[in-house]
Amino acid sequence: MALLEVSGIDVFYGRVQAVRGASLTVDAGEVVALIGSNGAGKTTTLRTISGLLHPAGGKITFNGKDITRTEPQNIVHLGICQSPEGRRLFARMSVLDNLRMGAYTRKNAVEIKRDMERVFELFPRLKERSNQIAGTLSGGEQQMCAMGRALMAKPKLLMLDEPSLGLAPILVETIFNIVREINAQGTPVLLVEQNAHKALEVAHRGYVLETGVIVQTGTGKELLESEEVQRAYLGM
């Protein structure tokens, strides 16, 4: 049984349907990429898994538990944490407070401190900036802070929405290396990206979303080599 199982969800914004019968799974230990162009429904899918939106049809289970109608805060308690599109940091709080907010659902101060150290190892930059107000960080630093904040929840599944968006190429490289590292340390990752090439390089498996429908799936390598994906998303 897969860790996360999304089966046939339909999601609407008012009367507009953004996701049509999408199904996907994430297994323990995997990095799964969800690629597609702007407006394909990638973010909507993540927001639905996080419980910010509820699907009109279909079912989502996590660790065998039905979470289709579960409230967002309870989904975090179950172990799914998301670093949302646009980072969405608490702009007037310090980096340290942002990271602490990530651990909001946790009680054990010793473990929280240990994970804070781990985040600082992954992102040494955040340690230097720990007392800076998050809204004044550079784009790359904000992305690191958002990912660090999500990690502070000690998620059983980490979802990253467009972690490379708007970053300089060298930082994009860093971010994807860190995704690999987080996964190597044992956290499964569901990655939403417009940078299909990078995402598929990192991912074990991938899904291609087009106007709310999953049109293709396969291993990262298969998708990288697929003609349609190359034509539509890799500019070849």
Binding site: E71, Q73, V76, C81, P84, R88, L89, M101, T136, A150
Partner: protein, 346 residues
Amino acid sequence: MIGALARMPSTLRTFGGSQVSNLVGLLIVAGALALTLQHVLQHSASFFFQILIIGIADGTIYGLIALGYTMVYGIIELINFAHGDVFTLGGYFSLALFPIFGIAEGKAGFGYVIPLLVVAAITMLLCGVVNVAIERVAYRPLRHAPRLAPLITAIGMSSILEGAMYLWRGPNSLHYPDLLPLTRFNIGPVNIGVKDLIVITFALVLVVVFTLFINLSKLGKAMRATAQDRDAAQLMGIDINRTISATFFIGAALAGAGGITWGLYISSVDPFLGFITGLIAFTAAVFGGIGNIPGAALGGLLIGLIRAFSDSYFDSSWTEVLIFGILIATLVFRPTGLLGMRVPEK
């Protein structure tokens, strides 16, 4: 050189925009201060200090009320017009509780300290419960409605509370027992009443405790997080409905404490007290920077001082004109208020 030239137009633009309105604002403030100073010099120093103390006492009470406006605005961007009436309710609840705890006028003494604090605690609790209920019934169902809808319900809730107090104790203003000592003493030219000191200390302690709570406690941080980005707060596992309820509860508890303090200081309450007091406190919140907590405390203090000085040195019939003039001037010249800050967008 070229770089400096390229920067020129933007420098000019800044000057043409906010600088000029800042200048106008400064001129107005400077003019008002000069006029006040001229009046102050015509009276004795002891009169000045007496007014100063009244201003500080009133100001800390306005600050207590303004905190509730600013917190609720910060978290759901709603001006809770019923908030001023929750403040009045604090006066009414405590009046009803006094006989139960054997508190009556004329027997004031140290024996009253504990019962008075108990009454204050119960009143704050009751006001909190009322405000949470208001949010649950009147605002939460409208959370995704256009902004104007909850604003109108808020005005409706305000009328309902005023009506309820009117039905409960009638339309007339009620005498609030004089429970605080009336002793006065002099420090140099300053004549202070023990009552003034108690009122100021009580309100200040609440403001300080509250500020510490918001900055240090987990719930306080959850409130700030929810105010800054509701979706992100949910993604951190914060139950935003509970957090919003807590915000209404705490804001109302402070307003309730303000109601008691007002009663003890001014010695009367009436069903419509919260209407004008609420608007003045709201002005204080906007003046300090709506959504900004230290701003509300500062705005309250300044508005209290302005009111006291205007009442005594000019003419009390102009005070409200002055205060609401400040409201308009703030909204026109500096919508973010005194301490409101522009934060880089995410």
